[in-house]
Symmetry: C2
Amino acid sequence: MSDKPQNDTGQRLQTLSAIFAPRSVAVVGASDTVSKIGGIPVDFMKRFGYAGRVLPVNPKQTTVQGLPAFPSLQAIGEPVDLAIFAIPASLSRAALEDAVAAGVKGVVMFTSGFAETGDDGAGQQAELTAIARRGGVRLLGPNCLGFMNVGEQLYATFSPAPASGQVRHGPIGLVSQSGAFGAYAYALARERGIGLSHWITTGNEADIDFADCVEWLAHDPQTRVIMGYMEGCRNGPRLRQALAAAQAARKPVVIVKVGRTEAGAKAAASHTAALAGNDAVYDAVFREYGVHRAKDITEFFGVAAAAAIGGLPRDASLGLFTVSGGVGVLMADEASQAGLDLRPMPDTAQATIREWVPFAAPTNPVDITGQVTNDATLIERTARLMLDQGGYASWIGFLAAAGTAERFWPVLESLVTNLRRDYPDKLLALSTLLTPARRQALEALGCMVFSEPTEAVRTVSALARLAQRLDAPVVPADEPAPPLSLPARVLNEPESLAALAQAGLRVVPHALVHSADEAVAAAGHLGSAVVLKIVSADILHKSDAGGVVLNLQGAEAVRDGYARLMAAVHQNVPQARLDGVLVAPMVDRHGTECLLGVQRDPVFGPMVMFGLGGVFVETLHDVVLRPAPVGLDQAHEMIRATKAHALLAGARGREPADLDLLAQQIVALSRFAVACGDTLESVDINPFMALPASRGGGCAVDAVVIGRAPDEQEPA
Amino acid sequence: MSDKPQNDTGQRLQTLSAIFAPRSVAVVGASDTVSKIGGIPVDFMKRFGYAGRVLPVNPKQTTVQGLPAFPSLQAIGEPVDLAIFAIPASLSRAALEDAVAAGVKGVVMFTSGFAETGDDGAGQQAELTAIARRGGVRLLGPNCLGFMNVGEQLYATFSPAPASGQVRHGPIGLVSQSGAFGAYAYALARERGIGLSHWITTGNEADIDFADCVEWLAHDPQTRVIMGYMEGCRNGPRLRQALAAAQAARKPVVIVKVGRTEAGAKAAASHTAALAGNDAVYDAVFREYGVHRAKDITEFFGVAAAAAIGGLPRDASLGLFTVSGGVGVLMADEASQAGLDLRPMPDTAQATIREWVPFAAPTNPVDITGQVTNDATLIERTARLMLDQGGYASWIGFLAAAGTAERFWPVLESLVTNLRRDYPDKLLALSTLLTPARRQALEALGCMVFSEPTEAVRTVSALARLAQRLDAPVVPADEPAPPLSLPARVLNEPESLAALAQAGLRVVPHALVHSADEAVAAAGHLGSAVVLKIVSADILHKSDAGGVVLNLQGAEAVRDGYARLMAAVHQNVPQARLDGVLVAPMVDRHGTECLLGVQRDPVFGPMVMFGLGGVFVETLHDVVLRPAPVGLDQAHEMIRATKAHALLAGARGREPADLDLLAQQIVALSRFAVACGDTLESVDINPFMALPASRGGGCAVDAVVIGRAPDEQEPA
């Protein structure tokens, strides 16, 4: 372990180390037939040279594949770190009890027929989990393909994939919730020459889950980059903890999470929930911890392999070198779209390049032209000039098909060797056509190689973003607010506004009244044109019920408005219980309507939302989501992340809204959400009217807070 | 030629055929040294077996590489279709005159040192072009890598790329404006086993340009798919003609056009021009002719190769087959985002699949699970069921790493053979890991193969869009409007409104007045609250100058408003010449502000623009662009293509705007633009107030038309 983790975490990691890097492995259900589930692990470990003890367990045999076999785990008579269960579901319970009695630290269960088959199976699985927990045994699976420790040639898997060729040993740890995908990814990694430290599939996750594996890899000194394939997550806080551990260890995490377009499918009752589908929550969480979410398998392997080969760049500055002007433009297009910094070469350096090649384009991209075919030294000379004087953190050289020319190979090899030696902190990439063997040779020297120049640019951009996020981990709010407990119901408008005001949010001045006289008095007190709004838990859509009367100026108008409102409500919703009428000033027309909200995600807890109101949210879905707590910098970043944020910053000749105040409101809302914990279902402030500082900066005009009964605590 | 093209086009194509498929080739500057520019083409044609006559021209030798050499083209004494110039720039003029005298049909000039070097070179190039035009010789280049006719082993190139291995012969014609990119693309095509019919680089395009080559390939019976690499275009109408020819021939065109992010760089003076950068014009033109614009080189080759292998699907319906549930979701995510139709399997077919595999997911994706490893016949059985009963136009099967298992190859081979035979009109794709040779074997059978499942989905989506566009070529406006000629100046508001009204657009009722009395009378006539606006060519920003007074109701208010307006204008812009005051009714508040515009693109002529007004255009750049003329269906499609179009269709409880009227306005504006030809610089209708049909459907509220002096006609 590279760091010294504390207490719980330390205990957890130590147990997992006994599983993922065991000194001894028992195979329960071990078989002489090397193609059988119980034969494959024994065969692979023998054949590929696992250095620890392999202990077959099979009550019917005295030897398995030439190794002495034991009738049970207890019969082994020495400590067993890991037991592999290659047995039918019906025998699992007895074997697990045997494992507990034998003091086994961890069990990998290949066995299927549990939760994936329905309620009966889920019940049996829960029983196994309970036995394991009571007995202090950690459990991987059931219904999984197991795992491999590539460096130690440990094959706790029945995937036949290694038989067709073993993956290279390397610094990437791969975790997959799907066995089928895991086996496919193993083959892909092998074909592409990508080196793995561990390959883990988690199956039904009765005990050890995806997050456990990520956290363990975050502390594993053999692993520098973590790849994850996810289908879902049941314990959000654990996943966040694991991702935070990886972030703290500065290990890039690249994840494929399926289900992007399910967004909105789980739309909950509240308005804001419908705007931010479930999948957007994963995006927000991944973003929080600097995870790169890959959109497809190519990107999944591409970014992870690049991070393993080249490391992360210092910043987003990029020097582009090309032998074709057009491809230079293509790369510049991509770089500019990807937000990379294509700062120009200094004038003196440009002059030097022009001396070398009069028709070169010396700015950035530097197009040295086909002249390289006459003078191959131009490549390294130019690269050095760019790295020295341009000061780029990353450098990409496009060399067209030069890599296919035999005579050019020594040039490439010495180029990469020399640049790597003299610029160890720079990220280097080449785009040219090479045989797989030569590509891997350059990669082994620490230079990324791409056949596609724009993929090189996209990958550098992904690494620069990863670096930025890993260098700037999220700062949580200074100190958590004292816990609050909300009632398990919809708070009416004055209750909602009061709760938010108490949490430090700016809310519109208002009064709750119960008669026309009180309304007139309150309006007089507010001293401006007012709006009257009915307050009733039974009326969801106030306007539709005639429960809103706008723009009343003067006592007579207020009195008359009150009468009209009550008449309309009595007529339209005669059954509704009424809690009074809210009196508030008319909204400042100079403002920009915003939406501030919180929605409790069943997996990840409170998510804070910000968007520009009305059409932007409803038609353009221009809403930004972050898991609470949200710090002030993040709040500003949330505002800037909306497409329409220019409206707040003073577009179309408006006075800019008070963005500092707005960001503070988001932070206060986030603190409120954290304080309420799981007694909060949602907050919907719509609109929050954002105003220029000269007009007070704005306030919440309408709000609904919904409380909920807290979950029963699961026994730890 | 597959079609009989008419007149001009026919003549043009015939001459190009003499170049691209010549019966005899002279090489001027032919050399014995096979690595020299003048040696390479002779060597390749001899070595690879060009069947036509190769005629070296070299006044200093009697033979070149064993072939009899001639002192000049005229000395050959027999007709020469094509002459390759591998000579210095200084000898080019004499050689071209020799070619004219010898009756050569076409010349390929490798020679550099012309327009690419500056004004002098450009002047010399113009002289060569003039000589060629006068002499009836077509010219490819100068400063190009030449071309290859792959099927005939004709090498009119000095690219050494074929020496490292020849590209396969196939149905894809590739045109590149860049030699460096062309050579790289040749190597890529060779490495990926992609078959080419022709490979052409166009260099400086002194005569034959990119469009000429595309048009010729559109008529070439050997070519079924066209790939193009573009850096720019000088003759927009010719490019449109060429793309239309490809569309008419139902040949997919895939183009990489560099310079995506230059958008906005060439922003012209007019407001609307700034919104639609130059590059967006290419997007609009490509879209018009169903061109697939590839975002990178992978997609460039991927889509073109897929179209060549699999053809185009009947529609966007797609059946997904998977052996991994997670990858099924990954593919479904991609398909749903790409707009493909994942219709479910019929119930009876689902029941059949459940009979075969109880835990299968039978809907679509069909996840047949790892069960295939026990029963490989499940793949073909399920595929047939899906194609028969699901009726999908395309089918993608994800088989994970199965392709790497030796025993699985016969299964794959017979699967593809059988499905191709029995479902010849369906598009088939497999995603699995295969050796290059096996991948090519399946591709030769007509099945696309991908290692990346989501790339398979994206490619099917690209092919479905290509098919849709090729099947529904753009219908131009029924009959062109009679030509109009605008004055070369900014038309003032009443002039602009009058011109548009005459062209059939709905404009706001208005009157031009020159006194308060006239204003009062006009307002009385309009019968509602009115706005007064100053009319002056010298005042660009009317509101800033105090030249707009809103919401005047009644004679007194109008009289007073007129006085205020004139006073403000006299004070703020005392020098301005005034043309009067425009009186118009106040705008209906129930409308949605739209932007309708035309901007003359220097390359492609009038581009029609539509967007929702105000913040949508200015902050979100939500503008759609199409080259004129625009038909009614296209106009509707333009409206739907805006992100905010839901606002017009009745979002947020509004009454929907009259979309038919709005589309008619776009068509009328487009006809106006075409009628004005190059006397029109721009039209900016901002806003066009779109209203529900019940409120009259809307009208142009403010408009500026800018005329221009027409270009001098170039001599044809």
